[in-house]
């Protein structure tokens, strides 16, 4: 075990897709906790698309990462130095440590994690924020009804794959979309989607139309771009569109060449009485206990499946994150920062 701390800092703000030079590695001595603080040693770092937004100096739902600051993110770690009696050394925790090997935090910011006999990094994925996001999106905003059709893209990822599996349990026809034939196969074989479509193959709009003979009642928006354009004409009257991410646009400027589709979409919202609603997981903390009590047993029994992309070593995080935004991952992307 190293006695140094490795941190990955935001060196400059990307224009478009991030590149390795936007990040900076920084090694310092290990920080020591003061009274009421603990030091967390990172075991697993979660990499998620939302982090791209934090690299921009633009107003959003969370403040940007300052230049020279450590990239934000959630980790599973262990307390390796403690000045807080409730969190002794060795305690497994979930904490907002960011892209670094160790961090000193107030004990109040570090909830202990009982992994319930499961791999602890699942609490960064199917049992963590992405999972709760899917749960709230499908159940609270989606209001699924037996016999309806749900479409979701990025559907081998942690949000999309759980959204599809939850909808299936509620009796919906589920159509997943992902990039590449191997992922499309995973959609049906691992996650039980009724159909899996490869958005990189030609004629997505036609194939999606054929896959949804009764239209689309719930579209879980994670990606935007060509997928959203293909789904829009298929939305049924009273369809629900939980808006959870728009990853296709994260690396591009906010406004794009015309035509301007916004007036037409507003008209569609009216005539089809669509419910289009944004979702950020922290608004749904009140569902967390119910979510875990429902989903943990299903994961344990393999009635809910998940897929992980494990990257070894914190110094690989920038490269893995760049790949995530390019759609190179298949499942939940986690970095194994240290052995337990």
């Amino acid at each position: 075990m190293s006695d140094q701390r490795l941190r990955i800092l935001l060196r400059r703000r990307p224009t478009g897709a991030p590149v390795l030079d936007d990040f900076q590695f920084d090694r310092t001595a290990l920080p020591e906790p003061c009274t009421g603080e603990v030091r967390v040693r990172t075991l697993w770092l979660s990499l998620d698309p939302y982090m791209r937004g934090r690299m921009n100096d633009a107003p959003s739902y969370a403040p940007p990462v300052a230049l020279g600051d450590v990239m934000t993110g959630e980790v599973v770690g262990r307390i390796d130095a403690s000045r807080a009696p409730d969190l002794p050394e060795g305690t497994l925790v979930r904490a907002p440590v960011g892209w670094q090997s160790h961090a000193v935090l107030p004990a109040t910011a570090v909830p202990p994690l009982d992994p319930l006999g499961l791999p602890p990094q699942l609490f960064l994925g199917v049992l963590g924020m992405p999972g709760l996001t899917a749960y709230a999106g499908v159940l609270e905003l989606g209001r699924p009804k037996n016999g309806e059709t749900l479409v979701v893209a990025a559907a081998t990822g942690p949000v999309g794959s759980l959204a599809g599996q939850l909808a299936k349990r509620y009796g919906l026809r589920t159509v997943g979309i992902a990039g590449g034939p191997d992922k499309a196969t995973l959609l049906t074989d691992l996650f039980g989607f009724d159909l899996g479509l490869d958005h990189r193959a030609p004629d997505l709009a036609d194939r999606l139309r054929a896959a949804c003979p009764d239209g689309v009642d719930i579209y879980v928006e994670l990606v935007g771009g060509t997928v959203f354009a293909a789904v829009r004409p298929l939305l049924n009257t009273h369809a629900r569109v939980p808006v959870i991410g728009t990853i296709a646009h994260y690396n591009t400027a906010a406004t794009q060449d015309g035509p301007d589709r916004l007036p037409l979409f507003m008209r569609e919202i009216l005539t089809k009485r669509l419910a289009v609603q944004g979702l950020i997981v922290w608004d749904y903390a009140h569902l967390h206990e119910r979510f875990l009590s429902e989903i943990v047993p299903l994961v344990r029994n393999q009635e809910i499946n998940y897929l992980e992309d494990v990257i070894d070593g914190l110094d690989e995080a920038p490269r893995a994150f760049i790949g995530l935004l390019e759609g190179r991952n298949r499942g939940k992307l986690v970095v194994r920062v240290a052995e337990d």
Copy 2:
């Protein structure tokens, strides 16, 4: 009283703004009811922006008017010939007669109207479909909370004016927008908006920002266009946007020159967790009784005000309707087709 029937037909589909030649006048003998039917003599015809959509041969929430058919619309009338025992001659009714002086309809399509001692044409406006639209938009989709801010345009019209007055009763700050200084004055003086803005004066976006120091929590979308563009940056986190109309676009093509603002708006829906939801009044029939029981007493006591633009004579309907789409009306536009 004439013994002829005057009908106004759709002669051709407008491209852009309708013109008088798009309509055709047709005089025929009075039709006679068969068993189970009644003949309605129109007293008041309602003219509403949604009728512009029915002139297009495009899929929407209701089928288009066929070429050569009578323009659709709701009227208040009296039965002047009856072959239905439950609806004797002289009964006051509300009926989907359209732009014509008389129509024969199945008795089941013609609900009797008790005007409760009020002018019966109010049941085409503040107490009719526009009123119920405002009621459902503000209360069901708007979910108003004391101290919040509501913005609505076309705000001297029957939907906007009731939306503002309802919101005010719930303790909201209300900002109305209308075209021209006289209408802006009516907003505060007649309808009790906290502020009335003229959207034809320069710098709407700046004036709206100044009028909404705490942002916008409910935006009742009736118009689209520059008003929507001015409101969007002011929408607060968790704002609600009931989408009821987009009158600024009714006369224009559906897609417009760029930039394409749709990706940015989807991003805003996400980051601000907006709830953008379409509303068509017939989804809210279950609220009709509650709506009347609440609003009729308020109208009677002049705690809720309304404004009517009365046009005399059915042959003036096309001209009045064209003016409605140009924003020339102030209040609810009704045509007095015949004296009672």
